[in-house]
């Protein structure tokens, strides 16, 4: 791997946004392809961040600072990737359940998914089942992620899954659920496809889903 890609990955891990931007530009100037820079620099860097988080080395704010560095690099690469028809590894629709305004966990998952190469569609907070259904119909994602922080809004996950079934979209998308009160047992009970206890695991689970399909 080119040294410059190793350096991109390393600066991304440290959250050095400006340096990542400069290095991505330098890589493009050196005629590396956007796909090479993405896969060999940015995604490798974010993978290390994910590992650091899982291993307890990094704190949440550090993960988000690194994700911002990733975004800065992506701002340069995104138009070039579109131009050269390089597909993302998949679309990921994400939102917080109706009645729930807590978005810290959702934002973390979103950033980590983007870091792993997913194209995310963020529906925000207080999202009703119909909006999830419309987004799945419009964007045709591989995965829809649902987040709830409150025990009172968890049942909305089941309502939303039922709405997807009613709309005939349930078989076209995998449903992942997460959030502080959500458990693997609850996920199974409501008919979700997967559960993740934190953002780093969510990325592993999402990658597993995409690779299986």
């Amino acid at each position: 791997m080119a040294n410059i890609l190793v350096e991109i990955a390393s600066k991304l891990y440290e959250g050095k946004k400006d340096q990542v931007t400069d290095l991505v530009q330098q890589s493009l100037d050196q005629k590396l392809s956007p796909k090479e820079i993405l896969d060999g620099g940015l995604i490798i860097g974010m993978d290390k961040v994910g590992e650091g988080f899982k291993d307890g080395v990094l704190f949440v704010p550090e993960v988000l600072i690194a994700a911002r560095a990733m975004q800065a690099g992506m701002n340069l690469l995104r138009p070039l990737l579109v131009e050269s028809d390089v597909p993302s590894i998949g679309k990921y629709v994400i939102g917080v359940m109706k009645g729930d305004l807590h978005d810290i966990g959702k934002n973390l998952v979103k950033m980590m998914m983007e870091g792993a190469g997913f194209e995310t569609i963020d529906l925000g907070t207080d999202v009703d089942p119909e909006t999830f259904v419309s987004a799945v119909r419009e964007h045709q994602p591989k995965i829809v992620g649902m987040s709830a922080l409150l025990t009172t809004t968890m049942p909305q996950m089941k309502v939303t899954i039922e709405a997807l079934m009613k709309a005939g979209l349930r078989n076209s998308v995998k449903v992942m659920v997460g959030g502080a009160p959500v458990t693997a047992g609850f996920a199974e009970q409501i008919g979700a496809d997967a559960y993740a206890p934190d953002a780093a695991v969510a990325v592993d689970v999402a990658r597993g889903i995409v690779n299986r399909r």
Binding site: F59, L64, I65, L101, N107, T152, T153
Partner: protein, 354 residues
């Protein structure tokens, strides 16, 4: 982490972490933690809780279908944190923020400026799942229903009602700028409430008599908080001005919580309250034409706990970092965080302008 390592850290911090009363004989342990900065004190408090805390259940612990607990019990103690110089750096501890640095700015604005007061729900709408309260709303807009006494008094001529020597009803608060009447439409009927800006009252009291012991704000509303699922955790904020050796007025703050999610919320609470403290200091300073120094901040929690489901993360992340990374790597200064704060400020401004 091995017991020897825990003891080693405890030995290093022995002047800053004290077990006031052990957790035995049915007594909940009492811990005192101190430090110069917020980050240092909070870290000491968390470590003290982990080492000396007792194991106890909470109503939020998850259970399986047969009713057996899935989550381990929480770690809990009563604690007193004493922050010597709350605005000294580093203020920010990275383990205390469950989101990003930007979220700290948003939380400060939520508590100090009330940007999320519109998220308080309509108690008469069973489908409204917004919040039951915000701290800003309780501190700056504490509401009391107007009583029959108040209604009677409001109908009397001014000279007539002045005869009442005891100002025992909310009506008389309306003589002050910090209280006003607000009308709300409830199920199509207009109702009147007295709304009290307790923080403004604190500022006025301190400006008039800096050594007053009455400058406090509370959150508890017994007429409803005794019977709701998740009542306010913060109970009171108390302020007093003392003079230092150079005769500089110094604003002290005491805060009390009934219950505190130590790992995922307490740091952010403290950070926001220091901003409220600065706001009060500035306002008092303007009124008395003298700079007010920010003094020590004492923060007491009746139940300071790490939820059972978060203990594994605490051990894997907080303790690991305590051993393997320098204090400077675990913390952030407010100045270094400023670009992140500024970015969120701009986003919030855009959102509210829309």
């Amino acid at each position: 982490m091995e017991k020897e390592k825990l003891n080693e850290i405890l030995e290093q911090k022995k002047d800053k972490i004290h077990l006031v009363s052990p957790g035995k004989g049915g007594n909940i342990p009492v811990v005192a933690a101190s430090g110069e900065s917020l980050a240092e004190t909070w870290e000491n408090a968390m470590f003290g809780l982990y080492v000396y805390g007792c194991e106890i259940r909470t109503q939020y612990d998850a259970k399986d279908e047969e009713g057996n607990y899935i989550d381990p019990p929480s770690k809990d103690c009563s604690i007193l944190m004493s922050i010597g110089n709350p605005t000294s750096e580093p203020m920010i501890h990275l383990a205390g923020i469950p989101g990003g640095l930007e979220d700290l700015e948003e939380y400060v604005q939520e508590v100090r400026d009330g940007i999320k007061d519109h998220w308080v729900r309509d108690p008469l709408d069973p489908n409204d799942t917004r919040w039951q309260y915000t701290y800003h709303e309780r501190l700056f807009k504490y509401e009391l229903p107007l009583s029959e006494y108040d209604r009677y008094l409001s109908q009397l001529p001014e000279e007539e009602k002045r005869k009442f020597h005891e100002k025992e009803t909310a009506h008389f608060l309306l003589d002050h700028d910090y209280a006003k009447l607000v009308e709300k439409e409830i199920r199509g009927k207009k109702q009147t409430f007295v709304q009290i800006n307790q923080i403004q009252n604190v500022i006025e009291k301190l400006s008039q008599q800096p050594f007053t012991r009455q400058a406090q704000a509370i959150t508890w509303q017994p007429y409803m908080d005794t019977d709701i699922y998740d009542p306010a955790c913060l109970q009171s904020m108390w302020f007093r001005i003392f003079r230092d050796e150079n005769n500089v007025p110094t604003l002290n703050m005491n805060i009390r919580f009934r219950s505190r999610d130590a790992y995922d919320a307490s740091f952010m609470n403290c950070f926001a309250f220091i901003h409220v403290l600065e706001y009060i200091g500035n306002e008092v300073g303007k009124r008395i034409s003298q700079d007010i120094k920010i003094g020590r901040y004492v923060d007491e929690s009746d139940s300071f706990h790490i939820y059972g489901k978060r203990i594994a993360d605490f051990e894997n992340r907080f303790l690991k970092n305590l051993v393997n990374r320098d204090f400077s790597a675990r913390t952030f200064s407010r100045k270094d965080a400023e670009p992140y704060f500024e970015e969120r400020r701009k986003k919030l401004e855009e959102k509210f302008n829309k």
